[in-house]
Symmetry: C2
Subunit: 228 residues, 2 copies
DNA sequence: CGGCTCATTGAATATGGTCAACGCAAGTGG
DNA sequence: CCACTTGCGTTGACCATATTCAATGAGCCG
């Protein structure tokens, strides 16, 4: 099992602001887990005793709405730290974290985190910056959700997926989501999403092969996203 | 002009975690402003040189969507600190802050804030807790926006307004928003909001007198909000 | 009294959700 | 190997919801 001090992933998240000693402590108390596609890392309402640092794979963070539908609030990938928010506010988890593909995550007990927060201002400020950035993104999502059509949001989602997760050798989006997951990301019914995706295909904006999708006309998609 | 050390408002926000010396410094550099209803405290894209602490009145924090419509992301009242997020990430403001009624705000230059953040872990963690809480709320708003109908969201909005801003002696909501503002809070067209409000009135859920609104049947509204 | 701003209403249209059916591919167990 | 299930993706038809454009009213202020 690797040592946090040498972990490259750390460069992407707030743990990079920890001192050598702090990292050593984290490394000594952490455990590494493999999470299979579809498995739950933690669920809404769970009491979290630490945070999860994503080393590999992708997790969806979602919340069940009162009407019984899941809304995916964000996708977390390599470098993300899950559960941070709940640990800080000492509340139960507000979102569920479910693996979208096979993952490798490190669990870091909360004491190591909280002690560093309370004693190392550099670390606290670094975490603060990350959360502040998340908040900005969340505000932007609110605006998108409430002001854009489903079609625009789906177009944006594809662009987002390509930008953040890249493509495989055949040009398909490297992260393959089920139609249902796509619908849950943009907040619509699965059938609605399917219809729009099918339209995009007919318009030549994307290519689709089973659940795999490739962006064929990036500019065109962009036009749609901005409202054509 | 009052001294921050004696300011009661401070109890509601992260400034309560500052030491006496830090507060003194804030107090010496701060300025107090009166902002009239409709005036802009800062706009999207502005570079902020400090934060604004709300002593009285209410501000709407909104963002213009690409299609030209304003989305009100949140309402900030007594005790709220505006612009905090932008100062922390050293980005331009992501939202506009506009006074919904006459306000009194204190402007605190960012140096005092940043220096305390970097040297006082108590303060940093307190700010962190606040922002983490804001993030949770934002995530919840995302779920509401994408999964609930306009009718549900308007019902929730009225309940929210009563809970957070109270009523006047006649039972009307103490914070009076224009129909357009209500529409912008729930993310819909003004006419849609108006129609639904008019329905609520016919159903006896609310009373309306011009732009003033009073909740008549709290339980009924709650039913609607949960989806009846 | 204009001239404003905002609330209100109607009618036509667009957009999205729901229900139901069918196809296809990947297992699974006999 | 075949019948059977199961999970998705896909499509159609219908209904509900929300937007848009347009017109009218109601109150307010100089």
């Amino acid at each position: 099992m690797g040592r946090c001090e040498n972990c490259i992933i750390r460069q992407f998240n707030s743990l990079r602001a920890m001192s050598k000693e702090e990292l050593k402590r984290v490394s000594d108390t952490k455990t590494t887990k493999l999470v299979k596609k579809g498995e739950t890392i933690f669920g809404e309402g769970d009491k979290l005793n630490g945070v999860f640092c994503v080393r590999d794979g992708v997790s969806k963070l979602s919340k069940l709405s009162p009407n019984g539908k899941d809304q995916i609030v964000k996708l977390a990938t390599k470098g993300a730290v899950l559960g941070q928010r709940s640990v800080i506010t000492e509340e139960v988890a507000n979102l569920s974290a479910i693996a979208v593909n096979d993952m490798e995550v490190c669990f870091v007990p909360k004491d190591a985190i909280m002690d560093s927060l309370n004693s190392n201002p550099n670390f606290a400020v670094e975490v603060l910056r990350h959360i502040a950035h998340d908040l900005k993104e969340a505000d932007d999502v609110i605006v998108n959700m409430s002001q854009k059509t489903v079609k625009q949001r789906i177009a944006e989602a594809f662009i987002y997926l390509e930008e953040n997760f890249g493509k495989d050798k055949n040009g398909y989006l490297a992260l393959t989501l089920s139609r249902e997951d796509i619908a849950n990301v943009v907040g619509t019914a699965t059938e609605s999403a399917i219809r729009i995706i099918s339209d995009f295909k007919k318009l030549g904006l994307i290519k689709a092969f089973g659940k795999k999708v490739a962006i064929a006309d990036r500019n065109g998609l962009n036009e749609v996203a901005k409202g054509s």
